[in-house]
């Protein structure tokens, strides 16, 4: 289960970069794309594109399939779902906690003011 945190960390790291996020968004809209199609919107060279794809592959966010001379890149949404689940779970937990914290602190403030009067 140490892997879980490793995986999450890798997913989050992969998602830090706006170019990589744009690539994922592009893949999400279509059923796979070639490397040159993925590279087209960006003003970066092929080596940089390949580096980004390596990071996404390491995170398990994409898979590459070779047929003949073309490499097709496809989205693999599981790690993303896992990351989203993690965030959602903690959002529920803390959102509810912070609402009660707010109510509690406001009641303590009201008491403090009464004493100060």
């Amino acid at each position: 289960m140490v892997n879980y945190q490793e995986r999450l960390g890798r997913t989050f790291f992969a998602l830090v970069d706006p170019t990589r996020r744009a690539m994922l968004a592009r893949l999400e809209r279509s059923d796979g794309a070639s490397i040159s199609e993925l590279a087209r919107p960006f003003a970066i060279g092929l080596p940089a594109v390949l580096k980004h794809l390596d990071v996404l592959t390491d995170a398990g966010l994409i898979i590459r399939a070779k047929s003949g001379r073309t490499v097709t890149v496809r989205l693999r949404p599981q790690p993303m779902r896992e990351a989203m689940d993690w965030l959602r779970r903690y959002e529920r937990f803390w959102s509810s906690s912070l609402d009660r914290l707010t109510a509690y602190a406001e009641s303590m403030e009201a008491e403090a003011r009464k004493k100060e009067r």
Partner: protein, 147 residues
């Protein structure tokens, strides 16, 4: 959004909010995902000190989390590590940061929960990646980007 960030505006002065966040008595009043009770709260509030909170949810299940205070600047900032005791729910260790800022009506609280991973990941978190996942999440949810 790889760090979860939440903001609350609270009608109470920062020192009162800080105490509510950092004292065992305060924690017992708010910690937990639903209206179930906090069963035990311990907080050794100093850098390197530990805290432990056990709560029961409305469905009857009990959970415990613990961690260590990493930074304390009264009444502005608390940073602590955080994990589930036993680690069944999620074996990972997180970093929670609570910042308090005085505003005319009281306090603005900014809460951040991030995965405590290796240095590289942590640095990229700090490089301002917060919040930028929202749109992507909307993509994956198949919905419109929400605010």
């Amino acid at each position: 959004m790889t760090s979860l960030t939440l903001v609350r505006r609270i009608k109470a002065r920062p020192s009162i909010v800080f105490d509510a966040v950092t004292t065992a008595d305060g924690i017992a009043h708010w910690w937990g995902p639903d209206a179930g009770p906090v069963l035990m709260a311990e907080a050794d509030v100093r850098v390197g000190g530990q805290f432990r909170v056990r709560f029961r949810m409305l469905d009857g299940s009990e959970h415990e989390s613990q961690g260590e205070y990493l930074e304390l600047v009264k009444p502005e900032r608390v940073v602590f590590s955080w994990r589930w005791t036993g680690g069944q729910e999620d074996p990972g260790i997180s970093r929670v940061e609570i910042r308090l800022r005085a505003i005319p009506e009281g306090t603005e609280l900014t809460f951040t929960h991030a995965l405590l991973h290796d240095e590289e990941t942590r640095r990229s978190h700090e490089a301002g990646w917060l919040g930028s996942l929202d749109k992507l999440e909307a993509h994956f949810a198949g919905g419109e980007a929400s605010t």
